[in-house]
């Protein structure tokens, strides 16, 4: 009973998303997402998260996406348990030697069309782990990447903007969603 009273008292706490200066931050690289996939994923994108050797900083930020404050579900973004169900791989961390092959397999297990989004500085250029004997390199050394979201770690709102701009769903200028 007290739970329902609390539910009734608490308003929806989800924050509105503003455009921000994402254009500069998010890097769309050569492999543009084709228009068809963009249309397909615009409303519904199922994400499989792959930790390719990260320090778990990025994971903390990513898991914040599901909470009521950021609530990524309102954009049709959804984490799934199997790459077979996924449209998008969200890869974090420098790719360690042990994880290179599993990452490739995960990419292979995902049905086409699919996109890959690399989260964090490590995924771009190995960050502080650069030149370590244990890492292979950035994510694009192993599988083709569509979007990089920089930051160490990137804030949840940045990740959300990165995801949405990849899908071309960010609001125009001052609009909010």
């Amino acid at each position: 009973m007290s739970l329902f009273a609390k539910i009734l008292r608490t308003p929806t706490v989800t924050e509105k998303l503003t455009r921000g200066d994402t254009e500069a931050e998010v890097e769309m690289i050569a492999r543009q997402i084709d228009g068809r996939a963009r249309r397909l994923f615009g409303r519904s994108l199922h994400i499989r998260e792959v930790d390719a050797g990260s320090c778990n900083g990025c994971e903390l930020e990513i898991s914040a996406l599901g909470n009521p404050y950021y609530d990524m579900e309102r954009f049709g973004l959804h984490f799934v348990a199997s790459p077979r169900h996924a449209d998008c791989l969200l890869v974090t961390g420098p790719v360690t030697r042990n994880m290179a092959e599993p990452l490739k397999r995960t990419y292979d297990a995902t049905p086409d069309p699919k996109i890959v989004i690399a989260i964090g500085d490590c995924a771009r250029n190995c960050g502080v782990f650069k030149a370590s004997y244990a890492v292979v390199g950035g994510v694009d050394k192993v599988i083709p990447v569509n979007v990089f979201v920089p930051g160490c770690p990137p804030e949840p709102i940045d990740i959300l903007r990165g995801l949405l701009s990849a899908l071309d769903r960010l609001p125009r200028e001052r609009d909010q969603i």
């Binding site: 929806t12 989800t14 409303r43 199922h46 309102r74 049709g76 348990a81 169900h85 049905p111």
Partner: protein, 313 residues
């Protein structure tokens, strides 16, 4: 003729409504959690997208794996032709009764569990084993609820049960009826993989039941299975609604009556969806080995329902 048309359009209505129902429950849950949540129609976009994607299957799988999605979808669809959604009794009512409905759904579960074993992964086997365990222990409750309903209404054919309850509305508040409803509602939660038996939005393989079986599916196969699961939810909801509170179901096939029935159906589904969303916010998932206890509770409820409607005639 009109009856057959209505029968087919009713199956189509079920197909169209089902993803919306799932989305609606999800949306309500999100609102209860203080989130804005995905729009109820997100599930339609999910399905469209899945149908447009390619399929990746394991090299270990056999024809069973590829045949199962079609069988699951067809058998579920066949059930929508047999149950009274907006009008009762309809011409197909004589083809199958409540027992047939239950066993047709079991047919889908049977093949889905086989498909879970087919790729040879541990997750699939785990899901198959759990799903069949729960399906088996849920069976006595279902059968006893059917027994209670059938003895009360003098038939196991769905249309006749609905018509009978419509004719004697006072029976609807009898203890037997209410206990039967409670029993079937609990079983519905188990059979459609809702909390507290199975968490439909889990990402953790070790806690999965239904999801674990379909981890290997993708693309159009996954779309068919998810769609069938949604229709299954709708079937159980509308069975609960129309068996125990049949008001609004059209007894004559006039356009007005059918229209009212359709509106009533949507309202009843929404109400049940709301109840389920509330429950899922309130309840935690039970440990797998406490699920039999929950089902034992529902069995006792069904037994009480039968005794009170059967022995005290």
């Amino acid at each position: 003729m009109k009856g057959y048309l209505l029968e087919i359009s009713q199956a189509l209505i079920a197909l169209v409504l089902a993803p919306g129902l799932v989305g609606f429950v999800r949306w309500w849950k999100a609102r209860l959690q203080g989130r804005r949540g995905a729009a109820p129609w997100l599930v339609y976009y999910d399905l469209r997208k899945l149908f447009a994607k390619e399929v990746v299957i394991s090299k270990n799988t056999s024809w069973i794996f590829r045949f199962t999605p079609y069988l699951v979808f067809s058998s579920t669809l066949a059930v929508t032709l047999l149950i009274p959604l907006v009008a009762a009794p309809l011409p197909f009512d004589r083809i199958g009764d409540l027992l047939l409905v239950v066993y047709l759904l079991l047919l889908g579960t049977f093949f889905l569990a086989l498909a879970g074993l087919d790729p040879g992964t541990a997750f699939g086997g785990m899901g198959a084993s759990r799903e069949m365990t729960i399906a088996a222990i849920a069976e006595p409750t279902i059968a006893l609820s059917i027994f209670g309903l059938a003895v009360g209404a003098g038939s196991t054919n769905l249309g006749r049960i609905v018509a009978e309850t419509l004719a004697h509305p006072s029976a609807a508040i009898s203890p037997g009826h209410l206990l039967g409803f409670a029993a079937l509602f609990t079983v519905m939660l188990a059979e459609t993989g809702r909390l507290p038996v199975d968490n439909p939005s889990t990402h953790l393989e070790l806690t999965m039941i239904h999801e674990a079986m379909v981890l290997e599916y993708s693309g159009r196969y996954l779309a068919l299975i998810e769609w069938a699961a949604a229709v299954r939810l709708l079937i159980f909801f509308s069975l609960l609604a129309n068996m125990f509170a049949p008001w609004g179901v059209a007894a004559t096939l006039t356009p007005v009556a059918v229209g009212i029935a359709a509106v009533a159906l949507v309202a009843k589904l929404a109400a049940l969806g709301l109840v389920v969303a509330f429950l899922e916010t309130r309840l935690a998932k039970l440990r797998l080995f406490r699920v039999p206890e929950l089902l034992a509770v529902s069995f006792v409820l069904a037994l009480l329902a039968v005794t009170s409607s059967f022995l005290l005639r």
